[in-house]
């Protein structure tokens, strides 16, 4: 064999063994189907290593929109779900696709917009009323339009406001929260955002917080285990271990202070043990 070919072969063998080293025994892998906001906020980067150290399991967090995160779990492509769309979650639980829904934490949404506030919504206590004013004024509003938890809440608020939003003042970005904020800032438009992402971007943007504090704007995250009946390869024990971890007192303590260092305020409020009615 010529030397070049010998080197290439040795290289190939070594790299293949390296690539397959990642594929451990299935039972030690936990696939977490979750939303972009948990990853973009940096919370997962803190919690996942903690869990891995405690449990000896490897977590594969797959961050997608809430709609996709739930759909993946329903197909048995994940073992545990951490999302924030209570109405949709309850549907999956009722169908038996997801089990044991437990509240983990909440943060809140805010409506942000240009300093000039053309629709005069600043200080409006009710989010739906603020949206009605935006529609009445025909002021620009940027929507995620991606079936994310944020988008699902936004749709519920439009329904409550009795408005069917439409172009040209209604703009659908089809992108994540950060990109959507960027578009809203550029177009001097309103948008609905979670506070964490807004804080991360606020130093580069002119958008101001205009509406906050409405109970309808609470963003509640729940953890659910995937029903092993959804697929032959669901790691039910691993999924339950991660769900239990999210509710453990030590984890909840980490969540309580997360974000203080970077933003001067916590991003999430831990609520293990609470029910939807308690909020």
């Amino acid at each position: 064999m010529p030397p070049m070919a010998r080197i290439a072969l040795a290289l190939l063998v070594s790299v293949i063994s390296w690539a397959s080293a990642g594929a451990q025994t299935p039972a030690s892998n936990v696939v977490l189907s979750t939303t972009t906001s948990t990853q973009d906020s940096g919370l997962l980067d803190v919690l996942v290593p903690l869990f891995e150290k405690q449990s000896g399991l490897t977590v594969k967090p797959v961050s997608v929109g809430t709609g996709q995160a739930l759909a993946l779990a329903a197909r048995g492509e994940a073992d545990v779900v951490l999302v924030h769309a209570p109405s949709l979650e309850k549907k999956y639980v009722a169908d038996g696709k997801l089990l044991n829904r437990r509240l983990v934490m909440y943060n809140d949404f805010i409506i942000v917009g240009p300093e000039a506030d053309p629709a005069k919504i600043r200080g409006e206590p009710r989010a739906a009323a603020a949206l009605a004013k935006i529609a009445a004024a025909g002021a620009r509003f940027v929507s995620r339009g991606d079936k994310s938890g944020t988008h699902i809440l936004e749709q519920a608020l439009w329904k409550e406001a009795g408005v069917t939003p439409a172009a040209p003042w209604y703009i659908e970005s089809g992108q994540g929260m950060g990109a959507t904020l960027g578009i809203a800032d550029d177009r001097r438009a309103y948008t609905l955002t979670d506070r964490g992402t807004y804080l991360a971007f606020s130093k580069r943007m002119a958008l101001k917080t205009l509406v906050e504090g409405d109970k309808a704007l609470f963003n509640v995250y729940s953890v659910m285990e995937v029903n092993p009946a959804n697929g032959a390869r669901v790691n039910a024990a691993g999924g339950k271990a991660f769900a239990d971890f999210m509710l453990a007192p030590a984890t909840q303590a980490v969540i309580k202070t997360f974000g203080v260092e970077k933003f001067g305020q916590p991003l999430f409020v831990p609520i293990a043990g609470k029910k939807d009615e308690d909020l």
Partner: protein, 231 residues
């Protein structure tokens, strides 16, 4: 402008301090795309050479398919590889979705038609008379192919550059089949999208500078070999 300078400073700082996270991401990108390029060469060079030398009915159709495949959208490859590797998919038993191996598979599929297409063009550029002459001088068919490939080796370095350059900077497939998992499947491009999404523009700029330097470095090395004609 201030943001660009801040990005440049951050890039230099990350490189100078050997930031462990950046080093992990850099090494993973290099290993994954390097291995995928290697696989695409092993598959693409013989296939491209065979296609250049063989004549059969429907050949134009196959060549057109290869040429079209050179522009195969990574996100399409990503989608289909994901569906195949899903737990409920036909290759679900492999359990390699969201691992570096899955990215290697997807990237090799993206690079293979590029390598094939360029090899095809390079081998076809070797004059047919030269091939006939070799056979006339008593070379076996295999020996002839060997000599023709040697003749075409310099243009074929372009195949390595185009293949590697295409997949190291590819994002759609890496994101879908890798999942951008920290420390496991986070590559330069997926990390860049994540940091931009987080609002960490300095780090995103730093990563993009690293990627540009990396792509330039690899191409520079290969071009040096090509232009000096050392082998």
């Amino acid at each position: 402008m201030d943001l660009l300078w801040a990005g440049l400073r951050e890039a230099l700082r990350l490189l100078a301090t050997g930031d462990p996270e950046v080093v992990t991401i850099l090494l993973l990108s290099l290993q994954v795309s390097g291995l995928a390029t290697l696989i695409s060469l092993i598959v693409g060079v013989p296939a491209g050479a065979a296609l250049a030398l063989m004549r059969f009915p429907g050949r134009t159709l196959v060549v057109s398919a290869v040429n079209a495949g050179m522009g195969l959208p990574p996100v399409v490859v990503g989608l289909f590889v994901t569906l195949l590797l899903w737990r409920s998919g036909p290759l679900g038993a492999w359990e390699i979705l969201y691992t570096p191996a899955a990215i290697v598979v997807a990237q090799a599929l993206i690079a293979a038609p590029i390598v094939m297409g360029i090899t095809l063009a390079a081998v076809q550029n070797v004059p047919e008379k030269f091939r006939l002459q070799l056979l006339g001088l008593g070379a076996s068919r295999l020996q002839m192919v060997h000599v023709v490939l040697r003749e075409a080796r310099l243009p074929m370095l372009a195949a390595v550059m185009a293949g590697f350059g295409g997949i190291i900077s590819e994002i759609g497939a890496s994101m879908m089949v890798g999942g951008n998992i920290k420390g496991q499947t986070r590559t330069l491009t997926t990390a860049m999208v994540l940091e931009t999404g987080k609002g960490n523009f300095e780090i995103a700029i730093a990563l993009s500078l690293l990627l540009l330097v990396l792509v330039f470095g690899v191409n520079w090395a290969l071009t040096a070999v090509q232009q000096r004609r050392v082998w």
